[in-house]
């Protein structure tokens, strides 16, 4: 199926390498840290899930990489993609990359498409801007891509406006838009959160299939462990803007080391277990301001905490296969 030339490098070549990325936001009370020294690699063709609860900074990581950080935000560290630094790059230079070799699918398909433009115009402008195609050529490629994301009657429907599509169909349009230039890297920010449960599965399968066909590396941000289990090769667990644990899907799901990962998995309701009384939760609330204290952000809610946890953030230690845990008590 793939029309791509066989990759010259090894299949595990990292296409995106993020080192010590921190993101801060200026609030009336000063700068607060949303993401604190996060490092990870994204390798060709792999699907990496970034999980964490609301406010753990997971969406901000993707937005910063795309140069879409809010006006009151700043980021530091390094993110190298195709030999180019992404962080703090002027928008003009990023425009050569984003939409082309690096693209993004957003959370809310109801508001993420332009309500005043035909779908055809929204799709073809990507191709005319990046590949210099004529309008007619671009339209044919766009129709083909809509067919690939299984929008029936694509040739007719491409002329419609977004409000004439259902939520699931709009997210298919978003996926088509992101994949038009066959990107090396695709970011997905909770792509199914706003959709019906029945549609979610279809969209996820579609994304996984297309990414596999195009050998696109995917970083998907979600708080839904079901999405992770269905789609991902590797998982990064984020809490309070820091990586708590990372590893392969099996390692995270069947052999979690970090107390937060364990708590997260234990809180997932399962169909094969009878629930007695209330659903299980992790007691406590996430800290309001993050990263401005020396210890582990999970320490206040952690059952295994020791004195050291409050004083010192544990380093993320692991083996060379990408398995790593940041915990004083239970390491790899």
């Amino acid at each position: 199926m793939s029309a791509e030339p066989a990759a010259a490098a090894s299949p595990n070549r990292p296409v995106l390498s993020v080192q010590d990325m921190s993101i801060q936001f200026k609030l009336p009370q000063g700068w607060i840290t949303a993401v604190d020294r996060v490092s990870f690699d994204l390798r060709q063709g792999e699907v990496v899930g970034i999980v964490g609860e609301s406010g753990s900074g997971k969406s901000q990581i993707l937005l910063s990489l795309m140069g879409l950080l809010a006006g009151n935000g700043r980021c530091s560290g390094s993110a190298v993609f195709e030999g180019q630094q992404l962080l703090n790059r002027p928008p003009k230079e990023l425009d050569a990359i984003r939409g082309s070799t690096m693209s993004m699918i957003f959370q809310d398909p109801m508001t993420s498409l332009n309500p005043y433009m035909r779908v055809s115009d929204q799709l073809t402008e990507v191709l005319t801007a990046h590949q210099g195609k004529s309008k007619a050529e671009a339209l044919e490629v766009a129709i083909e891509m809509l067919e690939r994301v299984r929008i029936p009657e694509a040739r007719r429907r491409i002329r419609l406006y977004p409000h004439e599509f259902s939520g699931g169909m709009r997210q298919r349009v978003m996926i088509a838009m992101a994949l038009l230039c066959r990107p090396e890297v695709l970011f997905a920010d909770e792509p199914t959160t706003a959709l019906d449960v029945t549609v979610q599965a279809q969209i996820l399968e579609l994304m996984a299939e297309l990414a596999r066909d195009m050998r696109t590396a995917v970083a998907i941000v979600t708080h839904d462990l079901g999405v992770i289990a269905r789609l991902c090769d590797r998982v990064i667990v984020l809490y309070g803007g820091r990586i708590m644990e990372q590893g392969s899907l099996d390692e995270i799901f069947y052999d979690p080391k970090h107390p937060y990962t364990k708590g997260l998995l234990a809180s997932t309701p399962r169909l094969d277990e009878k629930v007695h009384g209330e659903l299980r939760t992790i007691p406590g609330q996430p800290r309001a301001a993050m990263g401005d204290f020396p210890g582990c952000p999970f320490e206040p809610r952690c059952a295994l905490r020791i004195d050291r946890c409050r004083a010192e953030m544990p380093a993320l230690l692991g083996d060379d296969k990408g398995r790593a845990v940041a915990c004083h008590v239970s390491g790899v």
Partner: protein, 306 residues
């Protein structure tokens, strides 16, 4: 769209009718009459004059006579400007008012939109602050102050433009158009600025940025379309008000427009002229709103004409 226009036009008939009825009877409730101001005329003569214009007939009959005339495109005679009937007065004043008003609207829309976008894109920069200052002046200073100020500066001191004259030269039109446009420039630029800032924060503009199509294309193709909607909605009624003649501007610059007739007709209790101009203003407002709604329908695919 044509059936929509037709339906809206027909739907405006009851509105105009209600406007006529209310204006007609309210003017009659107000004390005084067209001939009551002149003390040197004997009561007998006043009675004679009132009889001549059927002003002593029962009110409903007067209304019917007038209304019947309207149906036959006859707005009746002017009670004060004896040599003219109302239709002639409108034909004299309206083109001038339309001309000044149309230029003022064109100027205020162009300048307002450009200033608004510039302010939104370079927020808190020099352009934004200058635009804000112009807007503040335009909103806060009434046009009967702005007009004479412009006359003093450009007419009397710099001697670039005539103070108050009306002929075919473009020089006569600059100051009145500018005076009339300034408050609208102020309002449109503020509206455009806030709307643009809001639209620039929407998810779909973020999507456009993520597509890497360039900042200018993002602004002009994606953000502007949504941001201009509130401005379009404002322009309709504003155009109606502006082109139907500004009494103040016409008085300050001695422009023979229709705005003066309107105010004088009320002061003189020139009933047919009041009714004629009111009907005209009503029709202009309705037409402007219709044009606005059609324009919004063309700009926003979610608006349907059904």
């Amino acid at each position: 769209m044509w059936s929509y226009t037709l339906r809206r036009t027909l739907g405006s008939v009851p509105t105009l009718l209600a406007l006529c009825v209310i204006t007609f009877f309210m003017m009659r409730v107000a004390p005084g009459g067209p001939f009551s101001g002149n003390r040197r005329v004997s009561p007998e003569f006043v009675k004679l004059m009132e009889d001549a214009y059927h002003l002593n007939d029962p009110l409903w009959q007067q209304f019917w006579t007038w209304f019947n005339g309207v149906l036959h495109f006859d707005l009746g005679p002017s009670l004060k400007l004896r040599d003219y009937n109302v239709s002639e007065l409108i034909a004299i004043g309206l083109p001038t008012s339309l001309e000044v008003g149309a230029w003022a609207m064109l100027l205020s829309t162009l300048v307002g939109v450009v200033l608004g976008i510039a302010g939104a894109l370079r927020r808190n920069g020099p352009i934004d602050y200058s635009a804000g200052a112009i807007a503040m002046v335009g909103v806060a200073v009434p046009i009967f102050v702005i007009g004479p100020l412009l006359q003093i500066v450009f007419g009397l001191q710099l001697r670039w433009l005539p103070v108050a004259r009306w002929d075919d030269s473009w020089q006569c039109r600059v100051l009145p158009v500018l005076t009339l446009a300034l408050p609208n420039i102020a309002y449109v630029s503020r509206l455009m600025r806030s709307s643009m800032i809001e639209t620039a924060r929407t998810n779909y503009v973020r999507t456009a940025r993520a597509k890497g199509i360039g900042e200018w294309r993002t602004i002009l193709k994606h953000a502007l379309r949504g941001a201009i909607m509130p401005v379009v909605a404002y322009l309709g009624p504003a155009t109606a008000v502006t082109i139907s003649g500004s009494v103040v501007v016409e008085t300050v610059f001695s422009i023979p427009g229709i705005g003066r007739f309107f105010v004088e007709s009320v002061a003189n209790r020139d009933y047919p002229l009041i009714m004629g101009v009111t009907l005209l203003y009503g029709a202009i407002v309705i037409a402007a709103n219709l044009v606005t709604d059609i324009a919004r329908g063309l700009l926003d695919p979610k608006v349907s004409y059904e």
